[in-house]
């Protein structure tokens, strides 16, 4: 059993690499433990297209459910809500990750890659000099000149190979999500005020995570919506509600419930996601015979409001494929062009720029003080009773009532706007 390239993991990163390599004539095998590529996939809901146009323009033929044309952020408390809304140009699309992944799998197969499912890789195989020379699954050893690790966030193989440490709770969040199906596409469009092909992306802060770091989300697929909660694991011990109940609470919140009334629960899932971006990168992205791509490499941008992983995954897969094509041999030295490519692409610079974001997001100010304060101020400003408040009065009164210092909040905001 010998291949030019063995790819571990049939997610967006691994499949993008396999597609490009197979198209260039390499003998490629993708090993995926799920029943089909994508059967273990789960994410929030949208893919950003700016960089896909450069790295995988074929995506425009993929199954796209809707284009995001409306972007909403809501600060939510038990009984109040303030929502910011903006319209957007078609810069991202919503579609179930499994549709995107199985499309990419078909593309790779057509290009000649072999995809073997229901196979779990137990170990990255090394020779006596420590070079990566293939993978082990059960009692089988599959030889390959190059190995691409695209195993996703829970990188057990890299851990077993001694490249990374065990994941720490501070570096990840857990996402829990429900998919709710509407009777028809039309009904969904009427509820959310969307045209055909138009979609919305909605994030919530405050109430969904009991004012702890994390947030809620809602995306509109074709005739269903994804609704979920992302909860930073570092504050799990402060959480009073089991995380799976948080989604149900969000769905039943009076501000959200009317939108999804009558929709049927179709799917339920949970998965981890990195939250510290490049801070959880392995020491290097290339070793003798090995390249690391996608979530496994820490290529994911999480800013509290948005999660961008799929475009990073695809682009890093494409760059890994280019690196292998240009390397000539699998030595770490030859493969170092992968690192150069990462640095001169958007991947490394953008992640580097947001390196400190998790420190800001770890601060409970954003998730507790801000939602409570913002909803309080706006609510007060619009309430006419014996007083008719100026904005300043509304701010002062809210600050007094909620014990949130306006000064502290301003300093925080100044830090946040620079880093998020």
């Amino acid at each position: 059993m010998k291949f030019d390239v063995a790819v571990v993991g049939g997610g967006p990163a691994g499949l993008a690499a396999a597609y490009k390599l197979a198209s260039a004539g390499f003998r490629v095998v993708v090993l995926e433990r799920g029943r089909e590529p994508g059967s273990k996939a789960m994410y929030g809901g949208r893919v950003y297209t700016h960089w896909l146009d450069k790295y995988l323009p074929e995506f425009r033929k993929a199954a796209i459910d809707r284009w995001v044309t409306r972007e909403l952020v809501t600060f939510l408390t038990e009984d109040k809500a303030v929502t910011l809304e903006t319209t957007t140009e078609r810069g991202s699309f919503v579609t179930p990750l499994v549709s995107f992944t199985s499309w990419l799998a078909r593309l790779s197969r057509d290009a000649g890659a072999q995809i073997v499912t229901e196979i779990t890789v137990d170990q990255l195989a090394r020779d006596e000099r420590g070079r990566f020379v293939g993978v082990k699954s059960g009692s089988d050893f599959l030889r390959a000149d190059y190995v691409i690790d695209a195993e996703g966030v829970n990188r057990l193989l890299l851990e077993r190979a001694g490249i990374v440490e065990r994941l720490k709770p501070e570096t990840v969040a857990v996402g829990v999500k429900e998919v709710l199906k509407f009777e028809s596409r039309k009904l969904l469009e009427e509820r959310f005020g969307l045209g055909e092909e138009e979609g919305l992306a909605w994030t919530f802060a405050g109430y969904p995570t009991e004012y702890l770091p994390g947030g809620g989300f809602l995306y509109t697929y074709r005739d269903s919506v994804a609704i979920g909660v992302v909860m930073y694991l570092k504050s799990w011990d402060k959480l009073k509600t089991p995380v799976y109940d948080l989604v149900e609470k969000l769905r039943l919140h009076p501000y959200v419930a009317p939108y999804v009334r009558g929709a049927m629960l179709l799917e339920y899932g949970a998965r981890m996601t990195p939250v510290v971006g490049i801070n959880m990168a392995p020491p290097k992205f290339h070793y003798d015979g090995l390249l690391i791509v996608g979530d496994a490499a820490g290529f994911l941008l999480h800013t509290g409001v948005l999660i961008r992983g799929v475009d990073f995954a695809v682009a890093s897969g494409v760059l890994a494929a280019e690196a292998i094509r240009e390397s000539g041999d699998p030595s770490a030295e030859a493969l170092s062009i992968y690192e150069k490519k990462l640095k001169s692409s958007f991947i490394y610079p953008q992640l580097e720029k947001f390196r400190n974001v998790d420190r800001i997001l770890g601060d409970e100010t954003l998730f507790r003080d801000l939602p409570i304060f913002a909803t309080g101020v706006v609510n007060r400003y619009f309430t006419i009773d014996d007083k008719h408040r100026t904005l300043f009065e509304a701010l002062r009164e809210t600050s007094k009532e909620t014990n949130v210092s306006l000064f502290k909040l301003l300093i925080y905001m100044a830090r946040a706007v620079r880093n998020i």
Binding site: M1, R35, Q114, T117, E118, I119, S137, G138, D140, L142
Partner: protein, 271 residues
């Protein structure tokens, strides 16, 4: 010896079963089909006998092309080769018409078979007819719920277990024969990467132009039974009973509620 395993590409879990209330048929969209779980016992049983007595294991399935995935996974377990009988004409078959196709496939492609092995039943339709009906088409003896067997000359000495009676029985069958394997009686072996990589090479797809079966004996037309009505059992509405308190008290109250609802019977000792 030549072993044949009959398998169905079925839904993976009983909880994945959904019935379309309008047509009364199984909803297959969006559910990745896999080899019927109980068939893995049959495959393990046949592989183990092959390892003991030598020979070959052939898996046979009648299914649409999506059945390939199920057969690949059995080849991954170590089945030597697989045959998928697939033709539009076979669609809508009841167990009688299905067994007809299976028996004819066996006769044509494994005429010198010694033992046909099936799973106990399918997880998504639960008739357990196929073994008996295939045996009838083939004109050979059959036995159900077998968990262990050995071969002496042309005789199969098979042990089976009957749950309701709580008895173990030992039978002698003349070979060739058909047996069904007691569910969960075996520990199915792992699916191997090396086998899966070359699975396609061991897989043969045959349609009716090869099998040449009478159109009136297969598919919907060849099916003497028909589902004429279907009334899905309504899901009982959730009770939404919330019980809180100290763990011991909660447990007691839960037991009480379950007893009141008739979910559990009052057993002495349960307080």
């Amino acid at each position: 010896m030549k072993f044949v395993v009959l398998t169905k590409a079925a839904v993976p879990l009983s909880s994945a079963i959904r019935i379309d209330p309008k047509t009364g048929t199984l909803v297959r969209e969006g559910v990745p089909l896999t080899a019927n779980v109980w068939d893995r016992d049959a495959v393990e049983f046949a592989l183990e006998m092959r390892d003991r007595y030598g020979g070959e294991v052939v898996a046979i399935s009648m299914a649409p092309p999506t059945g390939i995935l199920a057969l690949e996974s059995l080849i991954g377990m170590g089945v030597d080769r697989a045959i998928l009988a697939s033709d539009r004409a076979f669609a809508g078959a009841d167990t009688w018409a299905t067994a007809h196709v299976l028996a004819k496939t066996i006769e044509k492609y494994v005429p010198d078979f010694d033992l046909v092995v099936t799973g106990e039943e399918t997880i998504d339709s639960t008739t357990a007819h196929i073994g008996a009906q295939t045996a009838s088409w083939l004109g050979v003896p059959y036995l159900y719920y077998v968990y262990n067997a050995e071969v002496r000359g042309r005789t199969l000495i098979a042990k089976r277990f009957l749950e309701d009676e709580g008895v173990d029985e030992v039978y002698e069958l003349k070979m060739p024969a058909v047996i069904s394997v007691l569910r969960s009686s075996q520990i199915p072996r792992e699916v191997k990467l090396s086998r899966k990589l070359t699975a396609r090479e061991h897989l043969q797809i045959v349609d009716n132009s090869k099998l040449g079966l009478d159109q009136d004996c297969v598919g919907l037309r060849g099916s003497p039974t028909m589902v004429v009505g279907m009334s899905p059992a309504a899901y009982p509405p959730r009770k939404r009973i919330v019980i809180s308190g100290a763990p011991g008290e909660v447990a007691k109250k839960v037991a009480e509620v379950l007893r009141e609802l008739g979910v559990v019977c009052a057993v002495s000792g349960l307080q």
